[in-house]
């Protein structure tokens, strides 16, 4: 609160009630960071379905095509569970896809 400071326990409860009324949802924003985009570590900390910003915090490389998600999970977050195993079983699955935005149709289909 910027107008007054709670001093006793009841005042802290009032403060909680007021901030529940006036507070906002801070998705990918962080007020402490002067309004700059707050970028959580890993998409699982993000409760929105899919990326709203790209790995650099901008919008130029958003999830189009959807395969962009695969690469962000796999490369950006080091979370290979959603993509084929690039090390042992499907080392070549993205060989024909140099740029996801342009060549996404060339990503191989891998059958487990």
């Amino acid at each position: 609160m910027n107008s007054m400071r709670p001093m006793n326990r009841k005042a802290r409860k009032v403060e909680d009630a007021v901030s529940a009324m006036t507070g906002d949802v801070h998705a990918l924003q962080d007020k402490k960071n002067n309004g700059k985009v707050y970028y959580p570590m890993g998409c699982t900390l993000n409760f929105t379905p899919g990326w709203e910003v790209d790995v650099s915090g901008g919008t130029a490389g958003l999830c189009q095509p959807v395969e962009r998600d695969l690469f962000d999970c796999y490369l950006g977050c080091g979370w290979p569970a959603q993509v084929p195993d690039h090390l042992n079983n499907a080392p070549n699955w993205t060989d024909k896809c140099a740029s996801a935005a342009n060549d996404w149709r060339n990503v191989d289909i891998v059958f487990p």
């Binding site: 107008s3 709670p6 001093m7 009841k10 005042a11 409860k13 009324m21 006036t22």
Partner: protein
């Protein structure tokens, strides 16, 4: 009415008590009991709203001229409005929850283990001119069957509460020590069977303390309140035996033995102030330094104004002066991180810290009931065996829930109209039912003869709270557990 008109409604101040402490302005909000320290912008808004009617737009403009950013002003106005400091007809405020008072589980019984006393204190409400109990035909001492029934009733009526409390009262409680000993054992056994914990306390005049009963009280962690009014001269003005001898010389060696041997629970002195016994500082110093008490509390004798020992308005203000003296000393100790023994200040600060907002002045009839020697249930220990405040009978149907509910409905703060404009009502709620009955013949009357005193005392404690919260806030953590 259109939205446009609503937003143009001027702001007004809501109900609060403002006080300065340590160079900071605080607000004590009523009825919530919240204490806030105002920041610069908050202080200016409250001042502006208090000066004249201003709309939101006008306030933003006025404060903008004083150099505040519009966004800060808007946020501050919304905060102050939603915290119930200011309001406008078009504004919003948080709906307060209604607290149900029915089915309130019992927490404590006060057992009148005896109607007898070996002292004849002049101001005693049990025996003096203001006596309201009718003990004719009632046994002098409570017997085991009544005490056991009281414990059984307490366990049943306490419902889901994990802990209960038994207070022994009288008369002089130690005149019936055998029953006290039996009841402690019975209550412990019965509470253990149902998985509840039980605590005990008693009030005594200390004349009958001996090594045997002190050892028992210490073993069972019985909290003790000792009635004593100061040094020999002051104590013996009122606290005398039936033959007129003073009790001081008899009780002090016993109290010292008690303080030496009983370390398992608190032992406090309870001083009853009356017309000739008003020297608060002198009494406190004697009881802490000479006798050895760690905690001393004061209470004015309840009396009809016609009684000689009644404390008039003028003398009540001298008591406030004495309280103020000790309370500032409490502040000094608290800032230094030490616990001072002035329990009146301690108790009020504890209430202020939690932000208590009472619907009833005390727990009488709510979480507490008194039990007479014959098993009569009453509002509290002061109404035991009185025709007023009857709450049933242990062996005739137990708690009279209809009477209890009726009492709670008619004595809620909302029906005490005299209190509705008083800022101290969150902590006072109208005051003691017994005091009101003795003064006005009506338990539901507000104790108007104490109002200025109560407000003066609470204002003092708020200022002390403010200073402690600024200078040593960690001291207040000790109030947070309960």
């Amino acid at each position: 009415m259109t939205g446009a008109v609503l937003t143009e409604s001027p702001y007004r101040l809501r109900e609060y008590h403002a006080f300065d402490s340590g160079g900071t302005q605080f607000l004590y909000l009523v009825p919530s009991g919240a204490i806030f320290a105002l920041n610069e912008i908050g202080r200016e808004i409250v001042e502006c709203v208090g000066e004249e009617d201003r709309t939101r737009e006008e306030l933003v403009a006025t404060l903008g001229e004083r150099g505040y950013a519009e966004e800060d002003i808007e946020v501050a106005l919304t905060e102050l409005e939603q915290s119930d400091v200011i309001f406008s007809r078009g504004g919003t405020f948080i709906e307060k929850p209604k607290v149900p008072t029915r089915s309130f589980p019992l927490q404590r019984v006060v057992l009148h283990v005896t109607n007898q006393c070996n002292l004849a204190c002049g101001y005693c409400y049990e025996y003096s001119g203001d006596k309201i109990s009718e003990t004719q035909g009632k046994p002098k001492n409570m017997d085991a069957s009544v005490a056991e029934a009281a414990i059984d009733m307490l366990i049943k009526e306490s419902a889901e509460r994990p802990s209960v409390h038994v207070t022994f009262f009288g008369g002089e409680t130690l005149l019936n020590f055998p029953l006290l000993r039996h009841t402690v054992g019975y209550a412990k056994t019965k509470c253990a069977e149902v998985g509840k914990s039980v605590e005990f306390s008693l009030t005594t005049n200390a004349t009958l303390l001996n090594e045997e009963n002190v050892e028992f009280l210490a073993e069972h962690r019985v909290g003790i309140t000792v009635s004593i009014d100061g040094d020999r001269e002051l104590n013996d003005k009122m606290r005398i035996f039936h033959d007129g001898r003073g009790s001081y010389d008899v009780i002090v060696p016993k109290i010292k033995m008690l303080l030496e041997r009983h370390r398992t629970n608190s032992i406090g002195a309870r001083v009853t102030l009356s017309a000739g016994v008003l020297q608060v500082r002198k009494i406190y110093q004697h009881l802490t330094q000479e006798v050895g008490f760690k905690a001393v509390g004061f209470s004015p004798a309840t009396a009809n104004p016609e009684r000689l020992y009644h404390i008039g308005v003028q003398k009540m203000s001298s008591i406030l002066g004495g309280f103020e003296d000790l309370a500032w000393e409490y502040r000094d100790w608290a800032v230094a991180g030490k616990q001072h023994g002035f329990t009146n200040a301690n108790d009020t600060l504890k209430d202020l810290h939690s932000g208590i907002s009472k619907a009833y002045p005390c727990g009488a009839g709510l979480g507490l009931l008194g039990v007479g020697t014959a098993g009569d249930l009453s509002l509290c220990h002061r109404f035991v065996d009185s025709p007023v405040g009857k709450m049933g009978h242990l062996q005739q149907g137990g708690v009279d829930h209809a009477a209890r509910n009726n009492f709670l409905e008619t004595h809620n703060l909302s029906s005490r109209y005299d209190c509705h404009t008083c800022w101290a009502r969150p902590v006072c709620a109208g005051g003691c039912y017994h005091e009101a009955f003795v003064h006005y013949g009506d338990t539901s009357a507000a104790n108007l003869h104490y109002c200025d005193w109560i407000r003066g005392w609470n204002d003092l404690c708020l200022r002390i709270y403010g200073e402690i919260s600024l200078q040593n806030p960690s001291f207040l953590d000790r109030f947070s557990d309960n």
